[in-house]
């Protein structure tokens, strides 16, 4: 009865819109850097923001989308960081990085990031297969134990088969500082893009169905163990990427960075932003990284505030600030176009007519 259908932006165009927005964001930040608005100090903080975004969005896969509570995310990050750090130290990239020859070092950097992801993923598989078979809180406990084991092992081992590797509690030092803002930015975009694409796919819907009702999901033929493990390993892999970038940013690693506290910090970001919302994770990772920098004078109260926030959030708004809402530029554009052309009114009228007919 209504000849005018609602405007829908086709999927390729949606991706194009997002790409344009992301490039625009990069150009704006780059211009600000060139103009001297963003100093070297703030450039470093932006890199940390990027790393935290990857950590939060990757934990969000396991917590928000899968509905589990891993408490050892820092462990996977540690594995990625040490893998990346050791690789970059042994590869001949030191001079290239020091000279700022990013293009020359890029293949090695990509190799290090990939290896970090794969090894963190392997550990994720190792832990995930037994842990995800169990129900309830056991995953939380196993991952917590795993994170602690990783830290104790890294503290106590300094050589593997006679090769000086991790340097124990003294820490891994003199890693080439390869994490530039551009690299981290691209990694954030790729990670978020991968998560988005996975969650919109058939596999992603299977993961969501497990979160909502595991028994029902199983009864419609979803291999729950497979999908749970897949999501968990994916989450661990991205944490490995974040760890690798972290190693390249700091240039030195000590095992005590990757304490239980670090896992909780990441969890706070996810919970605050909204479990199951990528935008929520990104925003809260950004805010929670920038805020302590801006409020240096009250930095001592940071952890107290975090923990209070966690409790208050759970009591009054357990879904997080954004709930499971995700922002889509294309959706906003669609709404705008429909509103401009007056199609949304026609559609609303048609809808209410239909309901009245019922």
């Amino acid at each position: 009865m209504n000849e005018k259908k609602l405007i829908r932006i086709p999927t390729p165009a949606r991706y194009l819109i997002n790409l344009v927005l992301i490039v625009a964001l990069y150009l704006v930040i780059d211009a600000l850097k060139n103009a001297g608005v963003i100093t070297k100090y703030w450039n470093g903080i932006l890199i940390v923001v990027g790393i935290n975004i990857i950590l939060a969005t990757s934990l969000n896969i396991a917590t928000g989308y899968l509905g589990q509570l891993p408490l050892g995310h820092a462990g996977f990050m540690a594995i990625g960081a040490y893998t990346g750090g050791i690789l970059m130290k042994s590869l001949p990239v030191d001079k290239m990085v020091a000279a700022g020859d990013t293009m020359g070092a890029l293949p090695y950097i990509l190799l290090a990031i990939l290896c970090s992801a794969i090894i963190a993923g392997l550990f994720g598989l190792l832990i995930g297969i037994p842990a995800l078979r169990l129900r309830g809180d056991y995953l939380a406990i196993i991952t917590l134990g795993f994170g602690e084991i990783i830290r104790v092992v890294l503290t106590n081992i300094d050589s593997v088969l006679g090769f000086k590797f991790t340097y124990g509690s003294a820490g891994l030092k003199r890693i080439p500082k390869f994490s530039t803002f551009g690299l981290v930015f691209i990694c954030v975009v790729v990670c978020c893009g991968l998560i988005h694409m996975m969650m919109k796919s058939r596999h992603g819907r299977a993961v969501l169905s497990i979160r909502d009702n595991e028994i029902a999901a199983e009864s419609v033929g979803i291999n729950t163990t497979y999908y749970k493990t897949m999501a968990f390993v994916f989450s661990a892999m991205l944490a490995g990427v974040a760890g690798c970038l972290y190693a390249g940013y700091l240039g030195s690693l000590v095992p005590s960075t990757f304490k239980f506290m670090k896992s909780i910090e990441i969890l706070v970001m996810v919970v605050l932003g909204g479990m199951g919302s990528m935008l929520g994770s990104i925003l809260s990772a950004t805010v929670l990284t920038l805020l302590p920098e801006l409020l240096r004078s009250v930095a001592d109260y940071r952890m107290v505030a975090y923990s209070l926030l966690l409790v208050i959030m759970m009591i009054f708004r357990p879904k997080g600030l954004l709930g499971s809402y995700d922002f889509s530029m294309s959706r906003v554009l669609e709404k705008f176009l429909n509103w401009i052309t007056g199609r949304s009114k026609a559609a609303d009228a048609a809808k209410s007519e239909k309901e009245a007919a019922k």
Binding site: L69, P130, G145
Partner: protein, 291 residues
Amino acid sequence: MSLVFSQLVNGLQLGSIYALVALGYSMVYGIILLLNFAHGDIIMVGAYTVYYSMTMFGFHPIVSVLLAIVISTLLGVTIEKVAYTPLRSAPRLSLLITAIGISFLLENGAQLLFGADTKSMNVLISGSVQIGSTNLSLAAIVTIAVSVVAMIILTILVQKTKLGKAMRAVSEDMGSAQLMGISLNRTISFTFAVGSALAGIGSVLYLCAYPQASPTMGSMLGLKAFVAAVLGGIGSIPGAMIGGFAIGLLEALASAVGLSTWKDAVVFSILIVVLIVKPTGILGRKITEKV
């Protein structure tokens, strides 16, 4: 021989502390299926209570000990009332995250209030007893004796009294228990009170072994006690006891063979192995899920 014996006693001393703390975890988990992460930090508060009442106010050790137990109990019940009661019908994940939040709140709050440094105090119990050719510290004997007595009292409380019956009923089926006229709020609060009182006793016994208090002392102790509870079978009182002694002996063994820096890793590896091989623990009952 005497070295083995003294290590054994050390292990049992540590194990009885773990067992007492594990009991608190186990009881709370048995009744509302919550991993009370804040339980370990209640021990920390208890230890600070003893420290301040002895050094600042100059109270007699016995008064300080009683004060620590009372404050721990009050703290446990307050946490339950403020943070866990509003979430009783919320998803398990929210409850777990709240527990983590409370735990970090206590730790960081203590760090702000008392400072991050370790506070050392006088030993509560000194002296030793000669048995055969070995010297046994009095603290070890008192610790083991107190924990065994506490567990006997607890078993009687749960098995023989009316409140214990109510606790068992609530852990069996919350809804039906309520229909039978059992006050949920009172029973759950009582469980928290008993668990926290045990944590208070645990903190005092811990101070007998290591006379110092620091803001993060509770977290590792709590986690290991939790491992003990899982190992013994969560929700079971004798299980928590067995698990606690097992973990304590294991740690003493790890230290004895020169792996003391690895003992945390050993404990958590045990946890992972137990959860994979027998998730219900040594004495745990199997929970079947209803669709």
